[in-house]
Amino acid sequence: MNTSTVRVTGLSKSFGSLAVLKHIDLDIQAGQVVVILGPSGSGKTTLLRTLNLLEKPDSGVLEVCGHRVEIPANGRFDRASRQQVALLRQKTAMVFQSFNLFPHMTALENVIEGLISVKKVPRAQALEKGRHLLAQVGLAEKADTYPAKLSGGQKQRVAIARGLSMDPQVIFFDEPTSALDPELRDEVLGVMRDLAKTGMTMLVVTHELRFAREAADRIVFMEHGVVVKDCQTEAFFAEDSGERIQQFLRRY
């Protein structure tokens, strides 16, 4: 039985003449927590953003949550592919570095927006689920607060609750704590750790080595658009993981 939640083969992406992703293959099993590490400009954020097609790859095949999308040679998706992309996005969630909460909506309205306008869930039902999710990230009392009145850490927790509202099979985290002060990071990382324990499939681009060491099952290390190392967390942090990895780990 195939239990891959995310499988990509031959994924490539260039910005102009700069090749950001070079023929990437990656296979992520259901329930895995995978942290993608690598220096700036290694392509890790781009890789994450291609997985839900926020960034359109130049070539390759994606299989995410059972939806297969093959990037056509001319770059133009046909109707069937567009439908696959839409379905795939419903089964995945993304958490952004800059939160991207909707500023004209309260925390609760942010959380239920996808349920109401995408999944067409009745409002009363959506509100109940939204309150439950806000409680799960420790923000039950902030339901009616607008994002402008929330701290960075609280915003990111609302964003995580918003992602969870769609019952995703996998969550993509794009440097979720990079925009936060150190003292606010722990509350977000705490929520992510709890999530990892529930068996949620997670793909996390981050610079938080401690989080990687403690919460990840597996580390993917990228540099110059290729996967340099892909191994179990213990093996990655072991002393014999290779000269380049050791050099990287020393810098942080």
Partner: protein
């Protein structure tokens, strides 16, 4: 001046309603058309983009007075005859739509790209995203400029006097002509335009504060 004001009052009352009616209806219709043009301008369809660009170029690049005269005096040559009020309303609508479309477009493009990405990543379609996420924010950004356009439009209705619409300026001109008291009449309507626009300014400021208070 008071006696003149009292004598002119019945006419001025009707004229104020005409000025306000023309200005506000043109603003509402112009906003609808302007939003349509703005959406055409940001669409990925080349033809729509070009049409929207040409529209703005023409209606923003020529004087409103010329547009008013063209519609009222020019169109009858092609069998299209309209009475003065609809002619003025059409010209004011087409003209304000050109400006308002640019106001909306700049509002839409100043909404952070991350908002589109957040909506897209939850599988929200283009139109739903526009309606629920982007336009509500764009309008908040565009509100001060929209207010300026409305005020400009109220003043622009005075050009309808050239095609015999009985609005404030035309009434002042007529009473002035029959009484030879031009100075007083034009001061009077000048003050009326000012008062109308002050009220609109206060309204805009109030709406702005109320509408954006959560986002600051």
């Amino acid at each position: 001046m008071w006696d003149l004001f009292l004598r002119a009052l019945p006419l001025l009352e009707k004229a104020i309603l005409m000025t306000l009616g023309l200005g506000l209806s043109a603003f509402v219709l112009g906003s609808c058309l302007g939003m349509l043009i703005a959406l055409m301008r940001i669409s990925s369809v080349k033809t729509l983009k070009v049409i929207a660009f040409a529209y703005v170029s023409i209606f923003r690049g020529t004087p409103l007075l010329v547009q008013v005269l063209l519609i009222y005096f020019g169109l009858p040559h092609y069998g299209i005859t309209m009475s003065p009020v609809p002619s003025a309303l059409l010209a004011l609508t087409l003209f304000s739509a050109a400006y308002l479309s640019e106001t909306f477009r700049s509002g839409i493009s100043s909404v952070d790209a991350g908002q589109w990405e957040a909506a897209t990543s939850m599988s929200m379609g283009y139109w739903t995203c526009l309606k629920r996420i982007i336009i509500p924010q764009a309008l908040r950004i565009a509100l001060p400029t929209m207010g300026s356009r409305l005020i400009a439009l109220i003043k622009d209705t005075s050009l309808a006097s050239t095609i015999t619409v009985m609005e404030l300026t035309r009434v002042a001109e007529q009473i002035g002509a029959s009484t030879f008291r031009y100075m007083e009449m034009f001061l009077m309507v000048g003050a009326m335009y000012w008062v109308i626009n002050q009220i609109l300014t206060i309204l805009q400021t109030w709406l702005e504060g109320r509408w954006t208070r959560h986002m600051r």
